[in-house]
């Protein structure tokens, strides 16, 4: 696996985008911690110095200025150099006692930097100057340990920042690598599918990440694709078979027609037969093309709003005499209210109904009763039904008959090309209608339920 692919992976790139944000948050949090720590240390310092100040004030009040001088002196003697500054001054600024040469240039709280006693550099002190009776006292502490604490905190934060960057980058590389592995697998499968191996499937991942979910979707699509390809293959074989037979019959009839031994009347009869066979072939081709165009197109420009009952009545009136002449009966049994609308391609719907009625007539047998119904639900769904009293279709074969060139009776001597219900199915799908085949007890009942028309 190429490193470039991993570094170009979305997980890694996402990590790079968010890394500066992480660091910014870390910086802000660090600054806040340093500030809070420093504040609390200064508060503690002030508390300690204030306590000492109170002690010195009490000494002066109870024991006098001399005792105060002695106390400052004693404290000075016990102080570690560069840690504490203390000084007691006359009102004119002259040092009385302590380890500081001059009175600091501020009243109240403040900081002062002085050359370090035991080495080079400066030491900063934080403290306060106050008047105690006739004298001024200055008490302070070195801020060295405070800055040390701050420096330690900053060092810790930098180390944490480096650790965060390294961890995020490492995690990003690992995730990116995992995704890349899965994507490479998907690409490999597609390569195999493209080269004609439709049996391959993506391995079922244990994870439930997006890629695993997509993989299972891809597998579903591959299942569907292989069914479609298989169907197409079967259709091609069926077309070849179905077209070969009438071509063969036409060829034989043509040979008969051109035979010198035939009389003129016979020739004409054979030529008419050739014409019929070719006309049937052409009709089969037309239907195949029509099915594929209906299935392929999503164009709804030919769709209009019209009344369901009127259309159904029209088709029934057209077919009633035809069915009567065939020794059967065609009846319109139930009608939807006159206002029940349907949004569809009118001509396609007429063809659908014609196919259903012709199909029923072809297979239901002599004296069969074919009933047509149209009903509307309160929810706006309109159902058109065509039922017959013929032999029906066994339940396990009802799905098969919706496929092109599928016939119940092998050999195809029933006069149909096995395309009637396939065309009905294509038209129903184009209208997002639900096609159902059921037992009419006896016979077959086909219903097509159309969704409510969109608001015009």
């Amino acid at each position: 696996m190429r490193l470039g692919n991993i570094l170009a992976g979305s997980a890694f790139r996402l990590a790079l985008i968010f890394l500066p944000l992480f660091l910014l948050v870390l910086l802000a949090a660090g600054a806040y911690i340093v500030r809070v720590t420093s504040d609390s240390i200064y508060t503690e310092l002030r508390a300690q110095i204030s306590e000492e100040l109170i002690l010195f004030r009490d000494i002066r009040l109870q024991e006098g200025t001399e005792a105060l001088n002695d106390a400052v002196d004693a404290l000075n003697r016990t102080s570690v150099p560069d840690q504490r500054l203390i000084g007691l001054f006359q009102p004119d600024g002259t040092l009385i006692a302590g380890n500081v040469d001059a009175l600091p240039p501020f009243q109240g709280w403040g900081t002062i930097s002085l050359p370090t006693h035991a080495g080079p550099g400066m030491t900063t002190f934080y403290g306060t100057t106050r008047h105690l009776g006739g004298v001024t006292i200055f008490i302070s502490r070195a801020t060295k340990y405070l800055t040390n604490t701050e420096a330690a905190l900053v060092r810790t934060l930098i180390a944490a920042g480096i650790a965060v960057v390294a961890t995020v980058l490492a995690i990003a590389v690992i995730i990116s690598r995992q995704s890349q592995t899965k994507l490479d697998r998907v690409a490999g499968i597609f390569d195999r599918v493209a080269s004609g191996d439709l049996a391959v499937r993506l391995p079922k991942g244990r994870g439930t990440d997006q890629i695993d979910r997509i993989s299972s979707r891809i597998n579903e699509h591959l299942d569907r694709l292989s069914i479609l390809v298989e169907g197409t293959r079967n259709t091609i074989i069926a077309i070849a078979h179905d077209l070969k037979s009438p071509l063969n019959r036409a060829s034989v009839a043509l040979q008969q027609a051109t035979s010198p031994s035939k009389a003129a009347g016979e020739r004409e009869h054979y030529l008419a037969e050739v014409q019929d066979e070719l006309a049937n072939l052409s009709a089969v081709f037309d239907t195949i093309l029509r099915i594929s165009r209906i299935e392929a197109s999503q164009d709804r420009s030919g769709f209009t709003h019209f009344l369901a009952s009127a259309l159904v009545r029209d088709v029934v009136e057209t077919y009633q005499p035809v069915i009567e002449d065939a020794g059967q009966r065609l009846e319109l049994t139930a009608e939807a209210p006159e206002t029940a609308e349907i949004f569809a391609d009118r001509r396609m719907l007429m063809q659908m109904m014609a196919n259903l009625i012709e199909n029923a007539s072809r297979y239901a047998g002599d004296k069969a009763l074919i009933t047509v119904s149209v009903s509307a639900g309160l929810d706006g769904y309109v159902t058109i039904g065509v039922a017959d009293t013929g032999p029906g279709i066994p339940e396990e074969k009802r799905e098969d008959v919706l496929r092109s060139f599928h016939r119940l009776s092998p050999g195809g001597h029933d006069g149909g090309a096995g395309l009637g219900l396939a065309l009905v199915n294509a038209i129903a799908n184009r209208h997002r209608a639900h096609l159902a085949l059921a037992d009419n007890r006896p016979g077959l009942r086909v219903t097509v339920t159309f969704p409510p028309p969109p608001l015009a």
Binding site: S297, T318, Q351
Partner: protein, 225 residues
């Protein structure tokens, strides 16, 4: 009549030309869309039979160019697929009729005849009369020799189409389109059955038949000759 055949399949084009010439027309073939357009623009021509798919320029573009140049000559579209989209597209572009391949030659002849003699004010006609048969399009009533004939809606529509084309052949496909609005060929005898029922009402009770079957072509309604 001078007819231009624009069809890239030379054998089909020649077959159509021979047929048209045998029927008394004069015909010219072109095999390319651009040639078809040039021919129509610079030569006298009464009707064009235009194939939908052609090299150089497809039939639809030829038709659009022809119409935008102001030429009003009738155009019959030939399409390989009789789908509604093709038909609508062709008619929208200014085509006068369309024919799905393969077609019966008699179908083409019938359509040429219907187009050339199409009355300009077909919609304004309120009354049709052939011999002793009268059809009132306003009151939807039919009488023959003064006797009222009771017709159902489809029978009336069928009779109207036949009478509007009186003396000419109307093919089965033309009837399916104009009476039933079917753009497909039903596998049953819809037209034959309805013609037979119409005959039983219009011809049978009377001495002379007006509706005639033209073998391998279609039907024609005309007065006895």
């Amino acid at each position: 009549m001078k007819i231009l055949i624009a069809e890239d399949d030379r054998r089909s084009a020649e077959f159509i030309r021979n047929g048209l010439e045998e029927s008394g027309h004069s015909a010219e073939c072109v095999y390319d869309g651009r040639d078809a357009l040039t021919y129509c623009l610079y030569n006298p021509c009464d009707l064009v039979i235009l194939d939908r798919m052609m090299p150089g320029m497809d039939g639809l573009s030829v038709l659009k160019a022809l119409r935008s140049s102001g030429r009003k000559l009738p155009v019959i579209f030939l399409t390989a697929m009789g789908d509604v989209d093709d038909r609508v597209e062709g008619l929208m572009a200014g085509g006068d009729d369309y024919l799905v391949k393969p077609f019966h030659f008699s179908e083409l002849l019938a359509r040429i005849a219907a187009l050339v003699r199409r009355p300009q004010n077909a919609a304004d006609i309120t009354h049709l009369k052939v011999h002793d048969l009268d059809l009132n399009l306003l009151s939807h009533s039919a009488t023959r020799a003064g006797v009222h004939i009771d017709l159902q809606a489809k029978e009336f529509a069928l009779l109207e189409v036949l009478m509007r084309n009186a003396g000419r052949i109307v093919t089965k496909t033309m009837l399916l389109e104009q009476v039933w609005d079917f753009n497909f060929d039903p596998q049953t005898t819809v037209v034959e059955t309805h013609i037979s029922r119409l005959r039983a009402k219009v011809d049978k009770p009377f001495d002379t038949a007006l509706i005639h079957t033209m073998r391998n072509a279609g039907y024609s309604l005309h007065a006895p000759r």
